[in-house]
Assembly symmetry: C2
């Protein structure tokens, strides 16, 4: 990440960072990582191979850090938050493994996708194993309420993925329909990851609702920024990993906006490329130009800022402190990635 | 099913049947079926379509009936057994959906496999959804011990499937290795389905261990008979659906036995057909002849009888009654399917 420059005024702002959150959760994250390694172990050698390939490929671990920070901020002093954070990360990893099969992806986080190395079969089954392990660990924690929160998320995520599959290649997708998909497939796990913090700490309904709202809205902002970045972000220029969604025919918010704001010719272009899968050389460049013309990336980032603001306000009732500041800064960090 | 004739003596024996179990659990199974329909529902139309396709295609529902009968036999009077039975059936259905993707199956229970109708993607994701729903319903029941039992099973089943995948096409598989696979992928769910009966009834460790042993051994017997039936059962003749395992290159106990008992020529044959995937027209007939020569089907059924006897003895300490008789008869029913 480079220095963030405010586009409007060109003056430097202090850069939002994930570092304060990383520092506050570092000791607990060491425990989470040790537990991850232990619970991804199996006498069946293929399981740790596949799991470690994905786990070690360097995701930011935002979700488990949220669980840890939320529990700490709520004054929790036990060790259940470490186990729940591990379960959250396993649920996320299982989803990535299954997503790669569903999307027929070749790459994941800059490495060959597990399905390309071990086959679709291993990706499906190791995903199932990690999900089973996640539930085992949650059961060990012994909080039925945390179990309910995370099993709700598991069902909702899968429902969201099916929803996305059913809506795929449909250019008539509205912004509301798209939001419903990402609310389920992305925001539900962010939401549960944050909410189990106050749940395990026994902080009561108000705190649960606040962290649920924080997680949901951060998840929405995070996904929308991801969608914008897939088209090059605010610079909206061709670069590394730009255009994956376009090539896979995924209809994301930038496209939904450009399609609605465009001319009939524009709409015919999007239909040919995404709905009919007829994109050819040069179409991605034209798509990026259309997104720029119709302020579709800017519009997507504006939406992300809106959900980010909701996330920050969800934590407003809590008194100031290092944890609150770190969680608020993560929102700005997620949104500022887009520059 | 025809009349069962004892091979040794040719005299008629009363036919073992699943009917007593069906009768005892009929009222509760109506509740399970209603719950299945409700929990397979979703605004995302593809979910009930895929789920109902598989659910309505007429499995015997042995596993949920075991949960219901075990709970009833242990004097349980609540309604949690209905929810747990539903969760067991959803776990089973999710496994079938993922299995079809892993095995690249075209057919399931005489109908086109879901993956042929809706694609691999829907099979993976609807399986995930059903698993999520299963856990949600288990959480509603509120028994951490039942949750632990079933989440253990979920992880073990997936581990067994990966084990099978890793061992696939390896003719050196031993009987013990094969047993370890089916103990995980098949027997673990039978075991958990039976054990949650005494768990929810609060019957204590001895009853739990007895039902766990009953379920495990019934599951092993069930799978071994399935393996024998895939080669035509005791008649070992070509018929409808015979040879699926052979065509898919699956190494099951009949093959493990025939391979070990056979000549070098026989072993070369099995290697060519199953390990190297080089089976041609006429090879299935030759395989069935080899299985007959080496008593490999009979040997497999003998093993199934052994585990069946263990299952029945596991229930021996309980006093006689309709439920115990029905559960014992199911063991004989499962083994007698092979004739």
């Amino acid at each position: 990440m480079g220095v963030v420059v405010s586009l409007e005024e060109g003056k430097k702002r202090p850069e939002a960072s994930v570092e304060p959150l990383v520092r506050l959760t570092a000791a607990d994250m060491d425990r989470v990582n040790a537990l991850i390694l232990s619970k991804a172990g199996s006498d069946v050698a293929m399981i740790p191979e596949v799991a470690n390939h994905l786990i070690s490929s360097g995701g930011k671990r935002l979700r488990p850090m949220m669980t840890l920070a939320a529990a700490q901020m709520c004054g929790y002093t036990g060790k259940g938050h470490v186990e729940l954070a591990m379960a959250v990360e396993f649920m996320h990893t299982a989803t990535l493994l299954h997503d790669d099969v569903v999307d027929e992806s070749d790459m994941r986080r800059g490495k060959l996708a597990a399905r390309k190395l071990w086959g679709n079969q291993a990706s499906v089954l190791v995903g199932d194993f990690l999900l089973g392990q996640a539930f085992r660990v949650m059961v060990e924690v012994g909080s039925l309420q945390a179990l309910g929160c995370l099993s709700d998320a598991a069902a909702i995520i899968a429902e969201g993925e099916v929803m996305q599959l059913a809506a795929a290649k449909n250019m008539a997708t509205t912004e509301d329909e798209y939001l419903a998909v990402i609310r389920a497939k992305t925001a539900a796990l962010f939401s549960a990851a944050a909410e189990v913090g106050p749940i395990i700490a026994g902080s009561g309904r108000d705190a649960e609702a606040a962290f649920r709202s924080y997680g949901t809205n951060l998840g929405l902002a995070f996904q929308l920024v991801d969608d914008a970045l897939d088209y090059g972000g605010s610079s909206a220029a061709l670069g590394k990993n730009v255009g994956d969604d376009f090539r896979e025919g995924k209809i994301t918010l930038p496209v939904v906006l450009a399609y609605r704001r465009g001319s009939d010719d524009d709409r015919a272009f999007w239909k040919r490329c995404l709905q009919d899968g007829g994109a050819v050389e040069g179409d991605l460049e034209h798509a990026i130009a259309l997104l720029k013309t119709h302020d579709a990336i800017t519009g997507t980032v504006e939406r992300a800022r809106h959900y980010g603001a909701m996330a920050k306000d969800a934590l407003a009732p809590f008194k100031d402190g290092a944890h609150k500041r770190a969680l608020v800064e993560v929102v700005d960090f997620c949104v500022s990635r887009v520059h």
